[in-house]
Symmetry: none
Subunit: 189 residues, 4 copies
DNA sequence: TATGAATGAGTTTTCATTCAT
DNA sequence: CATGAATGAAAACTCATTCAT
């Protein structure tokens, strides 16, 4: 069963580097010194492997998101900060996984996509709910269009898979703080 | 010469719908009732077509960005608002082009990518400069990490290619305003 | 277009010799000195080629059958003799085609099979109608179960693809006569 | 040892339904809840399994044929009737086996085919001998070309694996009678 | 007896690209 | 300008078979 995991890990790396379509099964197994047959012993298709990767990723995110949200000791503001940090550190830690997750979604077959899409929406709707609660209890500005703001927040964080390099000048923690500040209090004096 | 444009337009639509790798030259020419030979009369390769599309798109953005930035009558705040509106309306108006531009960049060959990447960075650095100027003249908060904020702003706008549907409840103009408000003044009361 | 025909002819030979599943596209094109790409330029799939072969074969049979049946100068007995000769000579002349037609039918995809099956039934029902008419006008025995007899006659003829060798002692004409005699007048003294 | 039989039975069913090439070892063992390893414990190869099936089938036929033929109380006419009934009821009773036997013979490897073919010929030659004896003792028409007639009789019966459904209007017994009548006395008034 | 992991040789199919006309 | 024919390299996937345990 360890081989299956190795294949998955290698696939994540290669999908992240070259993209899903540009990575062949041969590329993946060559790196591990096994054969294509072995791949198909563990996976029914290349798309199924992609689904597995997405599934794994979104599951992890949802679980950690719920740990943040379900903590009643936190204000809604703190929850938003937590979610921003969750996404940024995830992208920093598991760069390739994140790249696959955010960029290669459209290669999922319709069948597989349904489930994954639904859970990605869950994640977003959870953000929306936190915002909604925050508006109600006057943590956030009245009249906030929470659905669009949720998209905006996720844009800030998710986009970073495109460029963020955790070995650079700015640490994930610092970036999370910068983004949280921007979102919460804006940039004007 | 009109045929070349038709091919480009059709390619944008199909690349946008199905992705670059999933779209074959055959798919493109079938839709136009011409043959693959015709494609290769006008383009040297599939990748070159992609480059052309990217080139066209980023050129348009850069040109319009410079019209916003070079207008000395505007404050830096107004320039940021203008750039946000520029990106959002572009994504709304030319959905497929935008999808290709933001999603299929990594299919550019190294050679082609260099030029496009440089100009994408130019776009970002221009945003950074506006922010920098705004910090200096006290429109924006002191100590703002302008490079990261530029990435953040572009995240908010660019991510919308993933989800924004201009036929929905929110118009591009409204969305631009919502995002500009969030970025400039935040969401807390 | 000549190449397409060559491919079809070669396929018939090889399907006849080795069977459909045992014959690879590679086998077919190797024999002709072209490449697999060429095959897929002319055919959309291996199954489609099989369908084409079946289509061609049954069309030829049906056409010649109708020429026999529509000739009002003939008695029903003569028509039955004609159909027997039609099948036997066909199997003798186009051995491999016949083998493919009679043996490899179950490899047709459901979609393709429908049409072919319907036309094979047409052929059989035409035999049935001749028998029916012959019973009515007292050429054939009263009370004959014409549907079963039609199956019986076709069994006699079709089965010969399994063993008949037109280079042997018995010519197709002779065999047709032997079988017609057996079917029409039996074997008892 | 029961497992080996289960595998054989399941294989017959699947070979009958989908054909030999289209049925994988995996298909067979999946249905029984065992693994491919188990298959190779009992059989040395897929082809050997096919040979076993053919062997079993032809052995049964030959044995029952000899019981019919060796019974000196019967006329040759009665023997022919008996052989027709033998084949038809066999096809009716063991549909899938019969389908495999009559349709998938050409998948036997040369080595295996020799033995099976020889015994199939024995069956046919036995029919020929009955006919020959019948001609000699004037049960059958003088000058009958017994080799061809034997092929014809077997065509009538064997072909029925293609279409005969024992759940239909006509019972195996009835069909046997219809075919025997046709062969013995023909169809003309 | 039976399994589970792995293989390797093969299969069908796709498709960007070339080029003579 | 445009086509139709052909290619070749690579892709995903299949599956009978082996073998250590």
């Amino acid at each position: 069963m360890v081989v299956k995991d190795q294949i998955t890990q290698q696939a994540i790396i290669l999908f992240g580097e070259k993209g899903f379509s540009e990575t062949s099964i041969q590329d993946i197994v060559d790196e591990l010194g096994v054969t294509k047959g072995t791949f198909y012993y563990y996976f029914t298709s290349k798309k199924q492997l992609l689904k597995d990767i997405h599934h794994e990723y979104i599951s992890g995110l949802l679980e950690r998101q719920s740990r943040i949200i379900d903590n009643d000791a936190r204000t809604q503001k703190e929850k938003i900060i937590g979610i921003i940090r969750l996404l940024i550190t995830d992208i920093a830690d598991k760069g390739p996984s994140a790249r696959v997750f955010f960029r290669e979604m459209h290669h999922l077959s319709d069948d597989h996509a349904k489930n994954i899409k639904a859970r990605r929406e869950d994640f977003r709707l959870n953000v929306e709910k936190v915002l909604q609660t925050g508006v109600r209890n006057r943590e956030f500005r009245q009249g906030l269009q929470v659905d669009m703001i949720a998209f905006g927040i996720l844009g800030v964080t998710n986009w970073s898979y495109n460029w963020f390099n955790s070995d650079g000048d700015v640490s994930p923690e610092e970036l999370s703080k910068i983004f949280a500040d921007m979102i919460l209090t804006g940039i004007v004096e």
